[in-house]
Amino acid sequence: MYTRPERRLLPDPTAESSAFWTGGRDGQLLIHRCRACGRWFHPPAPVCFRCRSLDVGPEPASGRGRVAAFTINRQPWIPGFPPPYAVAMIELADEPDVRLVSNVVDVPVQEMHIGMAVEVFFEQWEDVWLPLFRPATGDAR
């Protein structure tokens, strides 16, 4: 069972990124979406990189996805964040082109696999709600 590490290095939310980092307060994974072309993109930016529209903003995504790739960190790279832990690229169910880098927890590292269905949960540190993932319960798609 996952226990939060002693310490996490935290991002410094900006005007663009604060929705992403604080959406967890309301249990929402907020991902930027373009209202002109309808496509999701990440990280958040003031302009859609696909169609150049300025009409963009955060919207709640399903929080479900699949592991597109992962690695297991076996060395103590970051003080207070003991290995082993899984760093994964999560392909969002809402838009497979959007891939979040996060940790997948609550699963033994040897059982991690590409294609695994996962869902988001949030871990609060000060004014940041880190979106982390764990194996999905029920049907992933």
């Binding site: 290095l9 935290l10 993109f41 960190n73 760093v87 891939r99 590409i114």
Partner: protein
Amino acid sequence: MRRVAVVGAGMTAFGEHFGLGIKDLLPMAVSEMAASVDKGLDRADIQAAWFGELTTTDGFPAGILADSCGLLDIPVTRVENACATGNDAVRNATYAVGSGAFDVALVVGADKVRESSARGTFWEWAGLTRDMAWDYPLGLVAPANFALHVARYLHESPATREHMAMVAVKNHRHALPNPKAQLRFEITVEQALNAPVVVAPFGLYDCTPQSDGAAALLLVSEDAVDRYTDHPVWVRGVGLGLDRVMHQHKRDMTTFPPTVKASKAAYAMAGIGPEDVDVAEVHDCFTGVELISYEDLGFADRFMAYKLIEDGVTAIGGAKPVNPSGGLKAKGHPPGATGVAQCVELFEQLRGEAANQVDGARIGLAHNVGGPTAVSAVTVLSNQRD
């Protein structure tokens, strides 16, 4: 554009140079380069310099090069393009000489990863190659970045960790006769497979060491080449390619598009194809990256890289030797110097003077990918002008 030739090449040994700063390594590499110029080099002949350095461990790079090498009367430009810095410095100098602006240009690359002047240097380095806000807090350290790509590559292709181990074994063996290499010892596939895991699927021997070092080249125009040598090595092609810095929208993890773009540009300029390359120095920062690069450079069809390493094609004695110097894996990887040092190796290969000579090599290719996988630079060299 005028033709451009390499007429001198030299480098320091790569390794842990705790006692030497960038300002010490630079003149060492430049002196060795000057000594390799067949008909001699008067320092006053050098008209401009391009200096590839990723971090500034001794202070302002262009000034340090001018100062430490006695080049105070020429323009010096610092080039920084992540791990593609070295071959991008070669590219910039090639354009300057090719354009007619200069006849004689110096290209230098240097870095100190084993820098001991500041405790935090390695972490500052890390910040240069990744987005601190998005990925790093979750443990996406530099090796993990490449590990995600290689994990997906192993998932989709027939390649296995054993094939990665074979790359490590080959490059360690190639480094043995190279006096400039950092890791001059042989390893076995079993050792590589049983080594401690760094970030899966990379064990210790899948990773480049951290290195300090410098390398230098002298580039001259076709009009000036006879003053320096009767055995020039021609810069036949250069190329640079980019991709998204972050992983979020990279749909295909099993290829590095910057390498594909950079090599296509370099092949087109050289008027050759991948089949014409006799020897290559490929960016094997991690063993799996060498495999993926076989495909991106056109040496192998998609997902067929494992066959090249299995069949010994890329070993010395094979049809297309890769990393005869030992590569980043065993020669070492001080990023700014890495690409320049690849060209030093090819200069020697194409003149038949290399420590680990590839018989009859006529065309060589040098390749960097970095940032972490967002930029690539490729240089094609040949002992034949056309």
